[in-house]
């Protein structure tokens, strides 16, 4: 099993931690993991992405150009990555934020109401957890339990009171798929 995913969106949408939590969960399950953020001044443009690879085997390059799955939280990310998904792969996007939805027919596309769900939970900052929930529901890359454990490790102690909210957001996100 190998999952080559990319998470992309505006800076501030929690893009990087989404991938990091997934990588952490992969590690908890004993897998090989690799997480690689975009870096440098292109970030001034306001976009960010993180490649996350989870595999049973040695991981080759941390930088790849074709993906099993793409999570896109803004229009530029949809535009940029839709065509980099392998045939049969998955594209998840936040339907609340996208004007021109993706059009490919040879992949599975999920437009989830991420932002709305987050607003419903009264905290827009959990958008990333909602979407991660949808991602896991769609891909089953790791067990949700590993995600919960990963969250504990990734979130600094002083934010641990937010764990239940994040878990809730994740669950809501899972529920958006099917």
């Amino acid at each position: 099993m190998t999952e080559e995913a990319i998470f992309a969106g505006f800076g501030g949408q929690g893009i990087l931690s989404m991938g990091m939590i997934l990588a952490y969960a992969g590690m908890i399950e004993g897998k090989e993991v690799c997480w690689m953020p975009s870096y440098g001044p292109e970030m001034r443009g306001g976009t960010a992405n993180a490649i996350t690879i989870i595999s049973d085997k040695l991981i080759s390059s941390p930088i790849i150009s074709r993906f099993d799955s793409v999570v896109a939280l803004n229009q530029p990310s949809v535009d940029k990555f839709e065509h980099k998904i392998k045939e049969g792969g998955v594209l998840i996007y936040d339907a609340s934020n996208i004007l021109k939805p993706p059009t490919r027919k040879d992949i599975q596309i999920y437009g989830v109401q991420g932002s709305e769900t987050a607003i419903k939970l009264k905290n827009v900052r959990v958008l990333n957890m909602v979407i991660l929930g949808s991602f896991i529901a769609a891909r089953k890359t790791v067990d949700p339990k590993a995600i919960y454990k990963a969250l504990e490790s990734v979130l600094p102690e002083r934010y641990h009171h937010l764990l239940p909210l994040n878990q809730k957001a994740f669950e809501e996100g899972m529920a958006l798929i099917n």
């Binding site: 590690m27 993991v33 690799c34 870096y39 085997k57 991981i59 080759s60 930088i63």
Partner: protein, 355 residues
């Protein structure tokens, strides 16, 4: 066994510096390795008293390293390509004065300001050229975050054993990516310093002088001969490389660092197609593992070298095999990453007559 963590290469490297008992770090920010000095600024001094100083430039950094290493301390600096170019005079001085220290180059694409994306185009600089004069750095090429940690320790051991600067030649990806890593335990900082270090003239013993100046050519030649003898010893004793499935191999893929990871994947793909490919990964790129290539050359049909540059290590591979087997190249430049499928495709084209 130490802790298992998920860490960014740059931060793992910084953490390893603290744990290995470094006395000081002098550096100047540059992408893609600024996390090193940032991590150290947060973590190091409170934990071990390690001195962290942001220098005014890379020229200053490397000369601070010279001074601090000359005082017998364990010190390190890190930078990326343009910054490392600025250190070339200083590195030559450090090699000439035989001071142990650790220098890390998290390579980005050049020449010039280039791009900040990962590259391996400083191989020649690290292993052959660089500064002026006949000298060598010991150059370690990590291929995952674990080695970013391990080579800090190994690097200081080699540096101190040979009184020679050691370089970790990584690349932007090694610095930026997160992987699993096992950390070694905190080591105490040194309290005793080598005899040659300038820590204040010892009573009734001659004063110590750290210098690379030997104005009389007769003396300078002796110094050069001593340095060359040291390099021959290093070439004898310290070569490190990894081989995979070379026993039955018809072909060899080779590469260092990120190139080697890609080569490994490409090898898997080739094997899955029934082509018997093995792999050689130089771990020390100076000293270069010439002998393993020489040894294997008569047994195989070809070598494909994969690098993130225009073809640099390939010269060493060719020097090793002396035309006994064809050596071909596949590389991408400017921060582009070769993908394993194209590697195999290229391999099939040049060796199997595919088109």
């Amino acid at each position: 066994m130490g802790e298992l963590k998920l860490m960014k290469g740059n931060e793992a490297l910084a953490e390893a510096m603290i744990r290995v008992g470094c006395d000081g770090y002098f550096g100047y920010p540059i992408t893609p390795q600024s996390e090193v000095i940032e991590y150290l600024s947060r973590e190091a001094t409170p934990r071990t008293g390690m001195v962290i100083l942001q220098a005014e430039s890379e020229v200053a950094s490397i000369n601070m390293i010279y001074g601090a290493a000359g005082a017998g301390r364990r010190v390190a600096t890190t930078s990326s390509s343009p910054g490392i170019s600025l250190m070339q005079e200083g590195l030559s001085y450090i090699a000439g004065a035989e001071l142990p220290c650790l220098v890390v180059n998290v390579v980005r694409g050049g020449p010039g300001l280039g791009t900040i994306q990962p590259s391996q185009s400083d191989y020649f600089q690290a292993t052959k050229g660089g500064g002026h004069g006949d000298y060598h750095l010991i150059v370690l090429a990590p291929y995952n975050v674990q080695e970013m940690v391990d080579f800090v320790k190994l690097g200081f051991e080699l540096a101190e054993k040979y009184r020679n600067p050691v370089m970790i030649l990584a690349d932007g990806a090694m610095g930026q990516m997160m992987e699993k890593v096992v950390l070694f335990d905190q080591q105490p900082r040194k309290t005793e310093f080598p005899e040659w270090a300038t820590t204040g003239k010892p009573k009734d013993k001659p004063h110590r002088v750290v210098t690379s100046l030997f104005i009389e050519p007769e003396v300078m030649e002796q110094v050069n001969l001593r340095l060359q003898a040291k390099y021959r010893e290093i070439e004898q004793k310290e070569v490190m490389f990894q081989t995979i499935d070379t026993e039955d191999a018809d072909y060899i893929f080779t590469g260092f660092g990120l190139g080697a990871r890609i080569a490994m994947k490409a090898m898997e793909i080739a094997r899955s197609k029934g082509i018997k490919v093995g792999l050689i990964r130089p771990i020390t790129v100076y000293p270069f593992p010439y002998s393993i290539y020489k040894e294997i050359a008569p047994k195989i049909k070809g070598i494909l070298d994969i690098e993130l540059n225009a073809g640099q290590m390939i010269e060493d591979v060719r020097l090793a095999v002396e035309g006994k087997v064809p050596v071909e190249f596949f590389g991408r430049m400017g921060g582009m990453i070769p993908d394993p499928e194209s590697v195999v495709e290229h391999f099939e084209k040049v060796f199997l007559g595919g088109k």
